[in-house]
């Protein structure tokens, strides 16, 4: 259908949605004590039971650890899908175009960017590891810290060129790192099968709880956080690698052009 009809259909649908939305929100019941049961239960138990002062990470990796495992698999599969879509011929069949930024290979971009990159790489890596390892104490955890860690190779590409980026994040290394991240989560969950005591459920928190306020507290939470951070950082690096390779390389023209059969007589 052409554009005007599509727009008209959308406007009718949007008006219907808006009307139902307003009715629904007016008809919502007000605050009643039953609504807060789960929140009060979790908030009152994170510190005494797990020595974790960050209730959000405790929910993510302990109380609802199984859902987070599902989310991690979504991330893994999307990275795999993007990699499959942007897959190219092997290295020796491609030539590397010049970077769009620099006309000659000797000058890798403006000096201001290089100085800034030089100053920022170490704080980024350090800050990323800090956020990942202190997930159960302050706002943070594997997901956020992993993204911060993944910006370090990107920033190095901005300051230098693609060859350096390829050297720092070699493709097999980040592939293996991502796989270790995902498998690590599952293996930590399976620890409960051996040390679970009377409940042998997947992803029970079975390691010692430690002292509140230390990064080694809360049993399996920092380990899961590290595995997740590794997986997210490696996943984003793979995505960057795939997109940059797509943008900056092209296939070598083959030596002999194929002979096309001429049309029918």
């Amino acid at each position: 259908m052409n554009e005007r009809w599509r727009l008209l259909l959308f406007v009718l649908g949007a008006l219907g949605v808006a009307a139902l939305y307003v009715i629904a929100f007016i008809a919502l019941p007000g605050p009643d004590p039953l609504r807060d049961r789960y929140r009060l239960a979790i908030n009152s138990r994170t510190v005494p039971e797990h020595n974790a002062t960050d209730a959000v990470t405790a929910v993510n990796f302990d109380y609802r650890g199984f859902d987070t495992l599902g989310e991690e698999f979504i991330l893994f599969v999307s990275v795999m899908g993007a990699m499959a879509l942007l897959r190219q011929a092997e290295e020796k069949k491609t030539i590397e175009l010049r970077d769009a930024i620099d006309a000659s290979r000797d000058v890798p971009g403006s000096t201001a960017i290089r100085v800034w990159v030089l100053a920022m790489v170490a704080p980024k890596v350090l800050f990323g590891f800090y956020i990942v390892s202190h997930g159960q104490l302050t706002p943070g955890g594997g997901f956020q810290g992993g993204v911060i860690l993944a910006t370090a190779p990107l920033v190095i590409y901005l300051g230098a060129h693609f060859k350096l980026f390829k050297k720092i994040v070699p493709h097999t290394a980040v592939d293996v790192a991502e796989a270790i991240g995902v498998a690590g989560y599952v293996i930590i969950g399976m620890l409960a099968f051996f040390w679970g005591g009377h409940t042998r459920e997947f992803l029970t928190n079975v390691l010692p709880m430690g002292k509140a306020g230390s990064p080694a507290a809360s049993g399996t939470m920092p380990l899961i956080s590290l595995a997740t951070g590794l997986e997210v950082a490696a996943g984003f690096s793979i995505l960057l690698y795939a997109f940059l390779q797509e943008l900056l390389t092209k296939e070598k023209p083959s030596e002999q052009p194929e002979q096309r059969p001429e049309g029918h007589a």
């Binding site: 727009l7 949605v17 789960y38 994170t46 993007a82 879509l85 942007l86």
Partner: protein
Amino acid sequence: MIYITSAVAAWLFLIGLYGVVTSRHLIHLCLCLTVVQASTYVLLIGISYRAHAIAPIFSDLPPTTPAVDPVVHALMLTDIVVEATVVALLLAITVQIKKRTGTVDPNHVDILKG
């Protein structure tokens, strides 16, 4: 109450969908989907809010201070990172569409050739 956040969420949802429906560039379409996803985050945060309650981090306050709902925050947090990779997947599809059909206008993409 929480009416203002729900109104913002509804507005973001509808305007994002409008962008998807009337889009003429596939990358613009992917980013409008990002706007639609942002509306769900706003709605979730609005639902979890309680008046005069702190964020659910107890590192410097006693663990008995009333805090907002941490479950919804946890859902939202992993979702933001996962959304970024799903948008990357969509952009990879866009690159392939451009390679195969030579156009990025969703009205002119004609993949199912008879």
